[in-house]
Symmetry: C2
Subunit: 227 residues, 2 copies
Amino acid sequence: MSTQTDRTTVKRAAERGVYDRATVDAILDEAILCHVGIVLHDEKPPTPMVIPTLHARIDDHLLLHGSVASRMLRAAAAQEICVTVTLVDGFVLARSAFHHSMNYRSVVILGTPEVVPDDQKPAALDALTEALVPGRLPFLRPMTDKEVRATSVLRLPITEASAKVRTGPPIDDEEDYELEMWAGVLPVSTTYGKPLIDPGSRFPEAEVPRHVSGYQRPGPGPKPATT
Amino acid sequence: MSTQTDRTTVKRAAERGVYDRATVDAILDEAILCHVGIVLHDEKPPTPMVIPTLHARIDDHLLLHGSVASRMLRAAAAQEICVTVTLVDGFVLARSAFHHSMNYRSVVILGTPEVVPDDQKPAALDALTEALVPGRLPFLRPMTDKEVRATSVLRLPITEASAKVRTGPPIDDEEDYELEMWAGVLPVSTTYGKPLIDPGSRFPEAEVPRHVSGYQRPGPGPKPATT
């Protein structure tokens, strides 16, 4: 299934553009957070605002959530937004500054989100918790109605989207390969440290559950052999 | 020096707002990349676009760069933009889904960038390279005039900006502390792997230089004792 439209077609470094849903989904699932772009239409001229927030992909939708008092969320519910997710995989250290680059996987989704109706909010909020820390939900005290009411959830269809992927070693000018220097890639990854128990815990001997001590995100996703 | 204006005043979780330049600068310096929000004014109504890109802070300005052919860069040079940078420090695993959170440090800068004039571009490009990999510049073959001409650099003043910072353990509802479960923080950090030499290198025995094998970014920056 392709998510390519004219607006999501990658123009710069077009060979890095990827439009299949499997690649898009894998990047969305691996990323901890996204950056949501909205337009502040009240300003003259309209200005952009970019806010980091957690997300969860459920099938063909991206879920976003926040306080019902959030200005960003209220604005986002009534307009076309841009959600961008970026994973950094490495620094590409070439033989010239010009050919330095990053290995990365990013996704841009355009669309107008809809507000998740009240009766579907509990399931959506559960999905958001499980997306952040898979396996944690059964350990928690259940959500209250008041908490559900205090939270807004938006659902953005993943229909107009593109991924951009760079992998592999530097691509230098032919003559620069003769320069006697080290060139290559410095891998970058996200890692998880030793879990820190809440110092206010009344159960300091509580065992760290497996979903915390063995925390893992999905991924890394499929990496097309592009440069 | 404060960068607080009405527009950059943090409204949601206002106690997490920080406006001193030292905090803002430390977050900008530690982050590998930023997300640039622009408005596509040609669309009716105007729509947002968010693009990940590298940045470098030089004193009171944030530098952005790209191909002179980049639509994003050309659009950004002529309008007010929003640059957002986010560092994830940990997952805050509370006793209820509602109080789950992230420890993070983020910065939002609003402003209209100016195009760095030609005579200042080489120095700006050097600064961008050094910001990504400090110490690498002396190893590289010098930039050519053609490469400098092919690259645009924008300079955004860091005058209207805010940081938002959350640190520390979960803050649960008082009665939930009686629940016998593990709660706390799972630290998250960015780490660098074993450098991978370019398989196309004609000098496979070249020593990995210290600026690569001992790579480190600045930070973590000052973390105000907020919750």
